[in-house]
């Protein structure tokens, strides 16, 4: 294989010393770069949440570690919290970090198909990180027009008062899209071309499948938004009027371009999370998936439908009211495949032997919490109810009940599951469980009050609700949510403590600590550059979920994909 040869060359003449970690083409090193950058940005985004939640709970007081929050700073904080958590945490960690780490290892490849494009992808991403962080410190402050960046507010510095901040924010987002287009090409091509001998389409584990479906959805949806972003940059800096009604432009055009990407984007981050969660559930329930093909087909159905629901974000934005009826139908229809995907995940538990390890707790919490996020979306998809609920805290609580399970719970599930493979050490289960309960319980205490606030008519992106007489009496709920956030942030200390402690002095991880079937567990922990010795790349004889198979070797409740069949034919 040409690639194998190329990698051999890399191992000999590749960068040495510190350059090995910052100039590497090894998919695992690039995964770590994305992972640590994403974690750093999660801390930035979490700190922002702390600052503006403190402002909402105790308006006008000086926030410890920050100071008094001005209205302009408040807007910049919420805007960048949202953008960072989606574009610089959820996407780099779920898709880029775990995609890079898991795809080659889980399909038995020695690396990505285009290792140098992979390195370029991270470098462009890093540039976007630097631009968005710098945008917070330029004169005028960071952009404060919400992560949706609706014009004319975002297009004209006379309105937003953040001339540099707005353009830098937009440039950073566009650069981030470029990075993920480069990464997406790699994921799709690698899955198509580099699978281990014998691995047919239905033998691919869910994690690679879902990351690739997500990459396809991303690549198909992001084009219009990149075009829109360029037009908006021109409006900001060159005096064009694409979105300016005074010069024949249309501000609502931006909303269509944005949400045509923005809604599929939800599924772009959901799919990788659900793929990893399903893999973890199968491993720790010791169960074959209840309907592999159902999960795959419902994911594809969701992906297709996700392109036809975008205008449910715009019911009351001034679109033709008749349009809302069509988008209500498509939006409610998308609940069917998503519900079915969750039902199948739950049904997989039936007849299993469930081991409540730390990764399994995270994976199960994903299902339990995401259900709440899913069903509360129905309220908003129903146009008649959205008239009232649009842009209230009900929306905010709803999408945090989807994004938090995806980006935080899903990430912790995957991180604790693959940590032994990534770092060659076992994590501390007791610290892991303290961190789990200390995160999941406060999460619910933060966002259930916000549902109530939304139903009570509280709108988003307002820096002080004391100004609104009808909303004053709900202040205890705001304080409760802020208190729970601080508790949750505190418990993250246990996570970092666990990571550092396990990395330094944890027990050495065996190749396959969880007794799982998929190929990454046949490589060393951690795998070397090239993953397997070039002459020992794995071959595949069966699907990834053959737990409890009656023909499995004596004494094993699992049957690794690479284990040659003993007496019986490989496939029945």
């Amino acid at each position: 294989m040409a690639q194998t040869h190329e990698h051999g060359a890399h191992a000999d003449h590749g960068p040495q010393g510190i350059l090995k970690y910052i100039w590497s083409t090894d998919h695992k090193i690039i995964a770590m770069q994305y992972l640590f950058t994403g974690m750093f940005m999660a801390m930035v985004g979490g700190f922002m949440a702390y600052v503006f939640r403190m402002q909402l709970a105790f308006p006008g007081t000086s926030v410890p570690l920050y100071g008094v929050v001005s209205p302009a700073e408040y807007n910049a904080l919420i805007t960048n919290h949202g953008s960072i958590m989606i574009f610089w945490v959820a996407m780099p960690v779920l898709i880029a970090a775990f995609g890079n780490f898991c795809i080659p290892l889980m399909i038995g490849a020695d690396d990505m198909v285009f290792p140098r494009i992979n390195r370029l992808s991270y470098q462009v991403f890093l540039l976007s990180v630097l631009v968005v962080l710098a945008s917070l410190f330029v004169p005028g402050g960071g952009f404060g027009g919400a992560w949706t960046s609706y014009p004319p507010l975002s297009a004209n510095s006379a309105y937003n008062l953040t001339r540099l901040g707005a353009s830098m924010w937009l440039t950073a987002v566009a650069l981030e899209f470029v990075a993920f287009l480069l990464g997406g090409i790699n994921f799709i091509t690698t899955l198509m071309n580099s699978r281990a001998p014998g691995m047919k389409a239905y033998d691919i584990p869910m994690t690679p499948w879902m990351i690739v479906i997500a990459s396809i959805v991303f690549m198909l949806s992001v084009g219009p938004l990149i075009a829109g972003a360029i037009m908006l940059l021109f409006d900001q800096n060159l005096g064009t009027g694409f979105f300016d009604p005074n010069r024949g432009g249309d501000p609502i055009l931006w909303q269509h371009l944005f949400w045509f990407f923005g809604h599929p984007e939800v599924y772009v981050v959901l799919f990788p999370a659900i793929g990893m969660v399903i893999d973890i559930i199968a491993t720790f329930a010791r169960k074959k998936l209840f309907g592999y093909k159902i999960i795959l087909y419902t994911a594809v159905a969701t992906a297709v439908l996700s392109f036809f629901v975008w205008a449910h974000h715009q019911f009351i934005a001034g679109i033709d009211p008749r349009m809302a009826n069509i988008f209500t139908v498509t939006t409610l229809l998308i609940s069917v495949p998503i519900a079915e995907m969750l039902f199948v995940s739950i049904a997989t538990l039936y007849g299993g032997s469930i081991h409540l390890t730390t990764p399994m707790l995270w994976a199960l919490a994903f299902i339990g919490e995401f259900l709440i996020g899913g069903v509360t979306g129905i309220f908003l998809g129903a146009s008649g109810a959205d008239v009232y609920l649009h842009d209230t805290y009900f929306v905010l609580a709803h999408f945090h009940y989807t994004f938090f399970p995806i980006a935080i719970i899903g990430t912790f599930a995957a991180f604790t599951y693959w940590f032994p493979k990534m770092f060659g050490k076992m994590m501390d289960d007791r610290l892991g469980k303290i961190h789990f309960w200390g995160t999941v319980i406060p999460f619910n205490v933060i966002f259930i009050p916000l549902f109530v606030l939304g139903l009570g008519g509280q709108h988003r992106r307002i820096y002080n609700f004391q100004n609104f007489p009808e909303l004053q009496h709900m202040q205890p709920l705001r304080i409760l949510a802020t208190g729970a956030l601080i508790v949750m942030l505190f418990f993250q200390i246990f996570f970092f403590w666990n990571v550092i402690k396990s990395w330094i002095s944890g027990p050495k991880a065996p190749k396959n600590p969880w007794k799982a079937n998929t190929l990454e567990w046949t490589a060393d922990s951690p795998p070397p550059h090239g993953n397997w010795p070039p002459d020992q790349l794995p071959k595949v004889y069966r699907g990834p979920y053959e737990y409890g198979h009656p023909d499995a070797p004596e004494g094993m409740d699992y049957w690794p994909q690479n284990l040659p069949p003993q007496n019986q034919p490989a496939r029945g």
């Binding site: 169960k287 009351i316 039902f343």
Partner: protein, 225 residues
């Protein structure tokens, strides 16, 4: 449900709250059922020594129906919700009942400007009354509003009316409401519009017929001449 948190003060508020309650019942049923099954399965099939996991592919007919029947039922619930949503939507947004009065609502950074007819009952005449941040309307009358913006997007939201509509520069969007309770209520701007978004508060003052007649008479520029 919603009316316990914030009162209903328009003719369509009850139908929107009713729709929210319908969705609450249907999705609440599914949520509780799914979570109950989920936790029961985790408890029932927790790892026990000497109990081997079962080999189930999901193709077994008697097991597969545990997925296919809920699948069909979710679809049925969706149809109920779609019908309810479209009916409410049609009445609130798509259909314009005959108006008793028409007012113009203009959003700008960061205030609401209201223009309403004076004693002649006609908009865009010399006796129009302009007010800022306070709209005075008569109870139990159907109002059309012509909503627009001078600069960026705003959103005219009256939570007690369950009314919400974006104001878009360059467009005039016509909607309606019919107050049913006299009193003073909040108008919130519900679309981020810059650093003053958080103080873009207005009030809608719903008056009785006689109060409103008096108010019009006092404030019409023509009567002052």
């Amino acid at each position: 449900m919603v009316e316990r948190l914030i009162q209903e003060a328009s003719s369509f508020a009850g139908s929107i709250d009713g729709l929210i309650a319908l969705v609450m019942v249907l999705v609440g049923f599914w949520l509780i059922l799914a979570e109950a099954v989920f936790f029961w399965l985790i408890f029932r099939f927790r790892a026990k020594p000497d109990v081997r996991t079962q080999y189930i592919t999901g193709k077994e007919k008697h097991l597969k129906r545990w997925i296919t029947i809920p699948h069909a039922l979710v679809l049925v619930c969706d149809v109920f919700i779609i019908v309810g949503a479209v009916r409410v939507w049609y009445n609130v947004k798509q259909h314009l009942p005959e108006a008793d009065y028409t007012v113009r609502v203009i959003g700008q950074q960061w205030a609401w400007v209201f223009q309403q007819p004076g004693q002649d009952g006609e908009l865009d005449t010399a006796d129009d009354i302009y007010t800022t941040d306070n709209l005075y309307v008569e109870n139990e009358k159907t109002y059309h509003f012509e909503l627009t913006s001078r600069d960026v997007l705003h959103d005219f939201s009256v939570p007690v009316f369950r009314l919400k509509q974006d104001a878009v520069p360059g467009r005039t969007i016509t909607g309606w409401f019919r107050p049913t309770v006299a009193g003073t209520f909040d108008i919130q701007c519900a679309e981020i519009c810059g650093i003053g978004h958080g103080v873009m508060l207005g009030h809608i003052n719903v008056q009785t017929a006689s109060e409103h007649e008096q108010w019009i008479a006092q404030h019409s520029p023509a009567s002052a001449q």
